[in-house]
Symmetry: C2
Subunit: 329 residues, 2 copies
DNA sequence: CTGTTAGCGCATTCAA
DNA sequence: TTGAATGCGCTAACAG
């Protein structure tokens, strides 16, 4: 096979042990350092990760576990994480589990068997127990995990939803629907909380039928619009709290030829591209996706290097992009 | 550490070698098979991939190398590949190189150092030479690679573009623009070819200014529309030949308050969600993304298992979704 | 079909 | 600071 440590050692006139020290940043004499460095270059030596892993039981790979890879939220976040981690020599195994808890466990087992050194997880639809049994650093994205010792990167969901709802209310709306997705998911709960608080702070009584639960997918968004528009007293404004829900809702509105910004007001989430393609341009909540990925990667890297005992929860700010989909009433 | 092969062997009253055979699907007696199976379960044995890799120099991981992870084309394809490969015990390292050839080489080196057993690649913006030097099975997605021995999964770009262009022509258009992206990219060339052939078959002389080149990104799509609309004789129909170009073009049309299907006709590519959100719903070319991923995974798997010498190029059919963005003129 | 044996390349003792 | 020796867990070659 390739060049090994022994050949480097021979060439540099030192022992393999010294080369190993060189490779691991352990102090050696300047003279040896130089000759090893030369030998490594001349022989084009690359460390054998298998052998190293066998010895150290570390893989220099990170697992990324997601309910769904194919989502406008996941993509940019993962992309940033992957690039950041690679800078530090880590590779990533990315797994999605199709929002299926069983598959989730399976994929996690798979990763653990590959001896991942750390895990970045979006913990939805997942049996949290399996996370608490893991003995490697975990960083959670988009949600705080109760009873599991891990760092988290979240956005200020309640606050930004409050702001978005308030923005709708300022335009005179009182009948405001929220398309919420799953009832038991942290992010959704927080976003709902913001909506509810904004209403109550403005003395608006919420018609409970205006709050639509379901999966966090397009279909739920689509059906939500159907249901809402078929009510005897339909809402005048709709807040869709994630990208899939928004896309489903927009499709339904299009199918029923409802003019956004005239017939109905709309605030969505995440997908800036769509917000700018639709006429009129949509007001949406924009999450700092790059920053979420960056932060997650950094948290994990620092846990991997210095083993601090502190648990960090980092809350990033989202923004409300105010465009033209909310009209005065 | 964990349980090893020796402990399993002890428990099952056989030698480690026999356990190894069991693990590798080499024939052993039914009796031993049973007792090993039991021992494996009872001890909860998991194979140590490092040790195996050190011996075999195989990693059971596949590299996926892409110009850009964050794209509506890549994600569904990758998602399918990842799931399929995992079924067969392979994990995947996914790398994007931000359409930067140098970074591409770096990432490929990284993967090779991780001893990937096979590579799936979207070979754009990549120095093809580095692929020809690789000694593992390669499957190319979306493009045929000259001078490199690898299987390919492509769609019938020229044909579907011909069909799309023809569809526009049938509506009476003669001034048809094509927003094409990079001139030196296989897929784009094929799509352009389809457009050109459809025009010439219908005796339409193409104004060369109607063919817009650039990067395969939103910006190019955006600026293309600006340029086209500012011409003294602007086109009456536009064909945007990939998702990013389409998104950019749609944004520009929206910014300039051009009504699709009335002021201008439009055919796009790939993004069904957007096609159905926009009013009127767009006619677009739809690629079989799931199938592309599945095919790529299967091709690689079969190369990995039986080492056939045949090189396969599999051409899948795309579809033209006919909706309402092309009007009679 | 089964078992014995050797060694893949590295990190880590411990003695010098 | 350095080096000789050891073994991580597995597979492959070969002898039985």
């Amino acid at each position: 096979m390739g060049v090994n440590i022994k050949q480097v050692a021979n060439r540099a006139n030192v022992s393999p042990a010294t080369v190993s020290k060189y490779l691991n940043g352990i102090k050696i004499s300047a003279k040896n350092y130089q000759s090893i460095e030369n030998a490594v270059k001349e022989l084009n030596f690359n460390i054998n990760e298998f052998a190293r892993g066998l010895r150290t039981n570390k893989s220099k790979t990170i697992g990324i576990l997601l309910p769904e890879l194919n989502s406008p939220f996941s993509m940019p976040v993962i992309s940033v994480i992957e690039n950041k981690l690679m800078e530090f020599g880590y590779s990533t195994i990315i797994c999605d589990f199709k929002s299926n808890p069983q598959l989730g466990k399976q994929k996690l087992d798979f990763m653990m068997n590959k001896k991942i050194d750390g895990l970045i997880v979006m913990p939805y639809y997942l049996d949290i127990k399996i996370l608490s049994e893991i003995k490697i650093p975990i960083v959670s994205i988009d949600a705080v995990i109760e009873n599991v010792d891990c760092d988290c990167v979240i956005i200020d969901n309640a606050k930004i939803s409050y702001e978005a709802t308030n923005y709708i209310i300022e335009h005179g709306h009182k009948k405001i629907a929220a398309i919420c997705g799953p009832e038991n998911i942290y992010t959704m709960q927080e976003r709902l909380k913001g909506y509810v608080n904004a209403c109550s702070d403005n003395k608006i009584t919420i018609n409970p039928e205006y709050i639509i639960y379901g999966n966090a997918d397009m279909r739920t968004g689509y059906e939500a619009i159907q249901k809402l528009l078929d009510m005897t007293e339909p809402p005048t404004a709709v807040f869709a709290v994630n990208d899939d829900l928004m896309e489903g809702a927009l499709t339904a509105l299009n199918d029923r030829v409802i003019k956004i910004g005239e017939d109905i007001s709309f605030v969505g989430f995440d997908n800036v591209i769509i917000a700018n393609i639709v006429n009129p341009k949509l007001s949406i909540v924009v999450q700092p996706l790059q920053k979420i990925g960056e932060t997650a990667a950094n948290l994990l890297l620092s846990k991997l290097r210095e083993k601090s005992d502190t648990t960090k929860i980092i809350k990033l700010k989202a923004e409300l992009l105010r465009q033209f989909s909310v009209c005065k009433i």
